[in-house]
Symmetry: C2
């Protein structure tokens, strides 16, 4: 609905707080203070706290989808390059200061039924893109297994990196993506 610069800035700050503290522990007063306004003023921009979560998750998923599509267009048209591009794009949106995507994955269950219905098509589109790329890699003989299971295992491995990745460490998201693809690819490739 509304999409003012003010609302966008609040959405960005909310994403940061939701990652740091979790949605339930983030209070409207914390978000207001971060923005430099009073808590009551938040509800000029959002109907309620749930709508803030919804805005963050929508932004995070849309951005992840856009980045993934750009990465696919920019890379070589081989199944291996496309798989690597997807993994790299996913990790970069998760690990390089893109809080909204982390919220989309880790706070999805906090959405009420209405918000979930509104956002599920976006989520499905992102997963469908993954299944397409994984499916092509399977047909090319690059990897093996069931399309849906492989997609879920790979996404799980990627999503869990949020829990242990150290940005000050020696590995970049790109290297992590390469290592994951190497793990599921026979050495002959």
């Amino acid at each position: 609905m509304n999409d003012s610069p003010r609302r966008r800035e609040l959405t960005r700050l909310a994403a940061q707080l939701f990652v740091q503290e979790g949605f339930d522990r983030t209070t409207v007063r914390m978000l207001a203070q971060e923005m430099g306004i009073k808590s009551g003023s938040l509800f000029h921009h959002f109907r309620d706290k749930q709508e803030i979560l919804c805005a963050v998750i929508e932004e995070g998923t849309q951005n992840a989808l856009a980045i993934a599509r750009e990465a696919l267009e920019a890379c070589a048209p081989t199944p291996e390059a496309r798989l690597h591009a997807m993994a790299r794009a996913h990790l970069e949106t998760l690990l390089t200061d893109r809080n909204a995507h982390v919220v989309a994955l880790y706070e999805w269950r906090r959405l009420d039924a209405e918000s979930r219905a509104h956002l599920s098509h976006l989520r499905d589109a992102y997963e469908a893109l993954w299944q397409e790329v994984v499916g092509d890699a399977l047909e090319a003989g690059l990897i093996h297994g069931d399309k849906f299971l492989v997609s879920r295992f790979v996404l799980g491995a990627l999503n869990w990196t949020v829990r242990w990745y150290d940005p000050e460490g020696s590995r970049t998201p790109e290297e992590l993506a390469r290592e994951l693809i190497a793990m599921i690819t026979p050495p002959s490739h």
Copy 2:
């Protein structure tokens, strides 16, 4: 400390509620009602809400560690059988009505510094066991990659199953474990 049957039953019920609702949304009143007592009475068994979480996570991790060790002793002494036994044990504690292990993984960040210090040795022991089994599989040439990265990717893929697994579906945890190992193992094996 205390370990009465009453406290154990409360820990079991708390694990169930923490998985369903999340730790933050579970109130002491919900837990008391589930147990059939008044909320004030809970604090005869636990100092505060944090200690309930600590008890659940301790139980979940200890149980996962015990089940994994049993599985390793019962299986064939080959790297492949041991890897499969670990994955299967992990999935069964996560997916087959063992709520405490899910809480240990998904609510770890809700622990305060004191509880975390008390439990980190248990968590480390479980991860060390995984790294040992993965390390043996690497040396045997069954899989390839970095020991720590492979361990983390595999555990991530397993942990994320909680988010999409359907107990009414057609696949058992054992089949899931087999498919995951197949994914990271060259077809020649």
